[in-house]
Symmetry: C2
Amino acid sequence: MAEKDQNTEQAILQAARKVFNQKGLDGATVQVIADEAGTTKSMVNYYFRSKEKLFAAVFLSAFRHFFSGIAAFIQSDFSLKEKIEKIVELDTQKLIEFPQLPVFILNEINRNGEIVFAHLQELNPGNLFAIIDQQIDSEVKKGTIRKIKAYELFMSIQGLTIFPILCKPLMSKILGATELEYDNILLERKKMIVEMIWKYLSV
Amino acid sequence: MAEKDQNTEQAILQAARKVFNQKGLDGATVQVIADEAGTTKSMVNYYFRSKEKLFAAVFLSAFRHFFSGIAAFIQSDFSLKEKIEKIVELDTQKLIEFPQLPVFILNEINRNGEIVFAHLQELNPGNLFAIIDQQIDSEVKKGTIRKIKAYELFMSIQGLTIFPILCKPLMSKILGATELEYDNILLERKKMIVEMIWKYLSV
DNA sequence: GTCTATACGCAGATAGAC
DNA sequence: GTCTATCTGCGTATAGAC
């Protein structure tokens, strides 16, 4: 029954996404994933052979999901300022939808780096930075902005947008903010982030 | 032998710090901690009763270690700009020394939040924000800076300084930078961060 | 206080019936 | 393809000898 296979396999993938996001590679167990998917440990191993293989599948899809949109904007022919705005916009939207994504990704980058590195090349990050560097250069020559390295710009934008999500559990507690209120804070920040970055760049 | 006790207990603590930092609560095992400390699983459980208890001890000390310095500066009578500079300075220094600290802390905040919340009050973060809010207000009245919430300022500073450490394994790979070169990038960023923040605040 | 031995459970993974 | 049963190993934790 090819249809049932699809369903079970997809159910496992979906469950794995959820559990790995919440617990990480080490904290998650095949048992919990199976329960969440409404099936058994055997089935998980039948479809994915091992916990690590399942994890790799989930992680790569999450990684791509987050960065593919950004990569597309970088390669587009928007102006530098438009790209910054679009990236902050897209980031914020994705982060509100999947708040666990950054901890998940950053945790695995730091703890099980090999898995990430092995598949990093497909995004060709060096090339993306080169594109931005070129765009910065041409703006600098026009005298509109100051010189900055693309990776510095990238880390600044991502730091400003992602960090508030990373400390969300803590900050919402401190501020006494509900889920919705905190998401609003994130939405409000968008303007501030773009302005902060752009004001710095402006000569 | 009280002296030997001290040594073994301290050795376990030190080993636990190292292993928990690298592997997190879930990824670490008592066996590995014991090996690292040059003792046995039994001894770890003898001194700390359980892995969770040991973790709580390690985590709290790390958490305090990172934030106590910042808290001190916030409560000092430096000007707002000086405080920003000092905090960026202190952060960067601590991050270079203990690059695993942020992943460790942020990961546990998101995965095992209760442990963090239970002991959060001792830092009295609400009060720290209040101090900054007050200082901002007085500057705003003088017309030197624009209005901003203390927590927004805090998240921006921390995001700009901490994020580059979080993606260090990835970025150093992309940039082809050695440990030392990457640390230099972090040091160079200090000026940029302060300027970015301050330029945004300036009216 | 320190070690060895061991209890006990659950992890991931496989075999084999249906 | 799905399930039950089971293997093997390692996890935390404890008991008891020295």
